[in-house]
Amino acid sequence: MAEATHFLPRAWPRSAAWRRRGFRRGLTFYLLISPWLLGFVLLGALPLAGAFLMSLTNYDGLNLDYIRFVGADNYVRAFGDTEAQHALGRTLLLMSVVVPIALIVQLGLALLVNQPIRGSNLFRTIFYLPSVIPVVAGAWVWKIFVDPTGGLLNALIGTVAPDANVRWLVEYPTVVLALFTIWGAAGGGMVIFLAGLQGIPAEYREAAMIDGASRFQVNRYITLPLLTPVIFFNLVMGLIGGLQILVQPMLLTPGVLAMNPGVIPPLDNYLYVVHAYTEIFVKQLFGYGAALLWILFAVVLGLTLLLFKTSRRWVFYGVEP
């Protein structure tokens, strides 16, 4: 068959042939990406629209047959929901602390392991390890580490202040959550910073050094500006991920082992998605929960756009490496 086509005379005028080729090319492209496109429509766009429709109803998981359209009621309610306000406030507060510290730690670690040192691969592995550790295991790691009974943290503090017996998960749950988050996020960001550092041509740094710049000056005036795209990337990703934190505060709840329905983290760790989760999977308020999640989506979108807007001022795309 395929051979036979070689002998066929070119029957169509050239332009049509070209159009046909263009069509076939386009078809090939769409066939190749069709799994993603289907997945995007069926598992991405339609659910997103579905969540929005759901947020306009009183759907509770069971009443699909006599569901009622309630308009913007759920959104009106969300704006008057003091728990949601508290949760959003705690989430934004946590992010405003965790995201900048995580960025500094990630960049610092990348600079440290990018030096010509022995065992730099070992160090990289150690810093990367926490990002490999699944959330359940990580929650256990921190629960045990800060446990007033058998934990190391209080034992270390005890060598300085013997009477301080802090019940971390009860008294300072957000501190533990922040440490857990930074510890877990450090490695992933470090690797991306490392990639960024290695993409900076060595000549730039060397030229500055020959001109007599100190190591600090080289980092501050050469490396840092060239890394701003990477900082921007990690900032956006950290913020988007951080706003969606759900499992960590649940599993860090004192006296709780699993994320069973009805588990409520301490008020300080009652984050926004925790609230949405509770409304949906505990109180069965699917419609209201969907509205809460759409508001979150709007917040994430707004923050991302805002960051992109400000990025023109401080992100440096001048040099193509």
Binding site: P116, V191, A195, A276, A290, F297
Partner: protein
């Protein structure tokens, strides 16, 4: 990599060595301390765990905790569940993402660039927003308590992996395609016989990342699966407690070590791979 060291073969003073190694050692200790504590706790007697002052190194390591961790939690069964779920998810999602990445890197069609931006833009949609209607749908289709949701997710590819493969395949010389096309190979055959076999590092790196997600994820198995067919992640949260519901910390830590160990071994072997993979395919271009 360490360009400065290569080009300046001179002796380094003691102060400089201290400056170079001090901070990195300190950071390594801080990062490793919680993990060190998991390890020593897993070898303590429960009475040592509860005693005050805190026992740092247990005088007689209790290896029996590991035996208990395996028998009490029915460890191998749930590890089997996790392995089946994670491996099938990873295999499918890597293959699909590579195919889609190849499509974006090598084939042209109307709206290609806009679609590629869409792939990336989806990264900012909070996953939970999409999950809630999916959950309702899965429940109505009778797909809860099965692994089908993960298979369906995998069949749609992963934006992160698609991006990585697209960047990676864009670096391949086009002459390969031309030569293959002259020999009469179609796009699918070019992908299977030229692109896929030459994508070793990218396949390994994304494969590990994609394996890690279901292995480590807690949320979706806890919402979609039941006690019998759930994953090790869910099991590890509450498998070890006394009849009063108090956790048995020492055995739990042994379980956690066993749960995490395969991942650490995997990453220790693939460490160079992954960093190189991200450096070459990651954020550039």
């Amino acid at each position: 990599m360490s360009v400065l060291a290569v080009r300046r073969p001179r002796r380094i003073s003691a102060a400089e060595t201290g400056l170079r190694y001090g901070p990195v050692l300190l950071a390594a200790v801080v990062f490793a301390l919680p993990l060190f504590w998991v390890l020593v706790t897993s070898l303590k007697k429960q009475s040592e765990y509860n005693s005050s002052p805190v026992v740092i190194i247990p005088p007689e390591p209790q290896w029996v905790n590991y035996q208990l961790a395996i028998t009490l939690a029915d460890f191998w069964r749930f590890a089997g569940n996790s392995l089946v779920l994670s491996a099938s998810y990873a295999l499918i999602v890597v293959f699909v993402s590579a195919l889609v990445g190849y499509g974006f890197a090598r084939h042209r069609g109307p709206g290609r660039n806009q679609l590629f931006i869409l792939v990336l833009a989806l990264l900012i949609v909070p996953t939970f927003v999409q999950f809630v209607p999916q959950f309702v749908l899965f429940a109505r289709l009778g797909l809860t308590n099965t692994y089908w949701p993960w298979i369906l997710w995998a069949l749609g590819g992963s934006p992160f992996a698609i991006f990585l493969f697209r960047q990676f395949f864009a670096t391949f010389p086009r002459e390969l395609d031309d030569a293959a096309e002259v020999d009469g190979a179609g796009p699918l055959r070019i992908f299977l016989q030229i692109y896929l076999p030459n994508a070793g590092p990218a396949l390994a790196a994304t494969g590990i990342f994609m394996f890690l997600w279901p292995w480590g994820d807690y949320l979706y198995p806890s919402l979609l699966l039941h006690q019998e067919n759930t994953t090790l992640a869910v099991r590890m949260a509450s498998a070890y407690s006394d009849p009063h519901g108090n956790p048995w910390q020492t055995v739990t830590m042994a379980g956690v070590v066993l749960y995490v160990l395969p991942l650490i071994v995997l990453f220790a072997f693939a460490q160079r791979f992954i960093i190189r993979g991200i450096v070459t395919t990651g954020i550039k271009g």
